[in-house]
């Protein structure tokens, strides 16, 4: 018996539960009540005011989240990567432990803090801090920060310290060394950090629901709405499927863009 055989159960599983389900998005987008039709697909696709505008808003929020995460996470990862290895290992563990609590629970906790605790603290229980863009951004940054720190820390701690010493020996000051040596070498980490934050940030619908108080609609909420208003009725999957197809295409494009930047910089680094 060859060892290949051990993979067969998984291959069957993979085809049944990873490959086949993907086709259902396309199937249900053009299939209403068992009949082929493009009307819902087309009307969803051309509904600029409802769908494309919300998508644009989500992309803007996701970009803001990613940028803030990057600005906070880079110094953290940089400081960690320059610490003694044993200390850095322990402190970086502290940064990832919060991920072990279900993120709905953490988001709910922020809801409790913003809705009940802070208003009580400042003596104005009628005020609510939920339902604003600021609160949604705060919680999104909170949820995704560890995903940015992790790849950055991995890349930064792998940079050969003798390169930095060489740059200093050759007369570059610390600032110049950072921008000419450390930053370019950490680009792969930045890229994977951005993908790990940006994609989930576009698709989130829990944070806008819990923290946004329903006032704040993002693209994920739109898809959720499409599916859950249509409880049980198979035909109404069409709108949700079409919205999902657009989403998948967006994710694909952003992944391709990130890959392009990644490769570009890598070859640049080799020339150096």
């Amino acid at each position: 018996m060859k060892r290949k055989v051990f993979a067969y159960p998984y291959i069957v599983w993979m085809i049944l539960f990873i490959v086949v389900p993907m086709f259902f998005i396309f199937y249900y987008a053009v299939n209403v009540g068992g009949q082929f039709t493009l009307t819902k697909f087309w009307s969803t696709l051309t509904d600029v005011k409802n769908n494309w505008l919300v998508l644009w808003n989500s992309i803007v929020i996701a970009l803001k989240t990613t940028a803030i995460c990057l600005i906070i996470a880079y110094p953290i990862a940089y400081i960690l990567s320059n610490m003694k290895k044993s200390v850095a290992g322990f402190i970086s563990l502290l940064f990832f432990v919060p991920m072990w609590m279900n993120f709905i629970l953490r988001t709910y906790s922020w809801y409790a803090i913003l809705e009940y605790f802070i208003p009580g603290l400042i003596g104005k229980p009628e005020v609510s801090f939920t339902g604003t863009e600021f609160s949604v951004l705060l919680v999104l940054v909170y949820d995704f920060l560890p995903f940015m720190i992790l790849p950055l820390y991995n890349t930064l701690s792998k940079i050969d310290k003798s390169l930095i010493e060489a740059s200093r020996d050759l007369g570059a000051n610390p600032v110049k060394t950072f921008f000419r040596v450390v930053l370019p070498l950490s680009v792969p980490g930045i890229v994977s950090g951005i993908t790990m934050v940006f994609v989930p940030a576009i698709t989130t619908f829990t944070v806008p629901f819990i923290i946004g108080n329903g006032v704040f609609t993002l693209y994920g909420s739109k898809i959720d709405e499409a599916f859950h208003q249509a409880t049980g009725v198979v035909g109404d999957y069409a709108v949700g499927s079409t919205l999902s197809i657009i989403l998948v295409i967006c994710v694909l494009i952003s992944t391709l863009i990130m890959n392009y930047f990644d490769k570009d910089k890598e070859s640049g680094g080799q020339v150096l």
Partner: protein, 292 residues
Amino acid sequence: MKRVFKSFKYVFLGLALLFLYIPIIYLIVFSFNDFGTGRHVSYTNIGTWNGFTLRNFLTLFKGEAGDALLLTLEIAAVSSIVATIIGTAAAIGINAMKKRTRTAILNVSQLPMVNPDLVTGITFMMLFAFVNTMLINMGLKHFQIGGFVKLLIAHISFSIPYVIFSVLPRLRQSSDMLYEAAIDLGCSPIQALFKAVIPDIMPGITSGFIMALTMSLDDFVVSYFVGDKSVLSVYIYSSFRTSGVNPAIATVLFVPLVALLLFVNLRSLAKEREYEIQSKKVNLKDKGGITK
């Protein structure tokens, strides 16, 4: 100047950690808060401290919240064990394949990791809806896929890739000859697997299992779309505004997990140190041999 910068570094790290732990500490503290007694305890006044009590932990397993908590733990335990078994076997098989098949399979395996969970959840929902409608149309109403099985299949599916990708690197490090040597020495393939290959890749399997467990416990989106039954996160999502959520759930889930994580980490640290000491000894012996 340098000293100022150095202390600034620690202040920055401290503030970032505080930010990450605020909601966790908040829930753990309030899990000891007195929310009042009676039939309908409301957890919505989770902003005011009414005094210390352990009552929240006693009522934890009652009612809807208790069912959700139990379901979450059941699904997490079963799905992570099954995913670890299928995933480990798959990794062993994939590692023995030709490069082209291997790349193809690994690329497809990455789909659930790259795809937004929203899309994963939707595709599963549609798959089950399709299969169940088909079964009803065929008159096989009793063979419909139930809520528990749906959740289980979905959780196993999104966990397997994480197991594969943590076992594979270990397999690459270990020698290809190990399996063949065991066979040559008279093991059956199954024996060779359990006596030679698996002990060698155990650290990878352990970390894969922990990943699978974490993914399952942390999941909301997929369960939300797939389940007719509410796992914990879905229960919280649907009831946080009306009846509130018993914060003791957070303490009960978080503290044991952190203990497990610290235990595994400390153990692997200790093992690494042991390995280092041993290899140093070996080195010293070798050097001694050369000087002689």
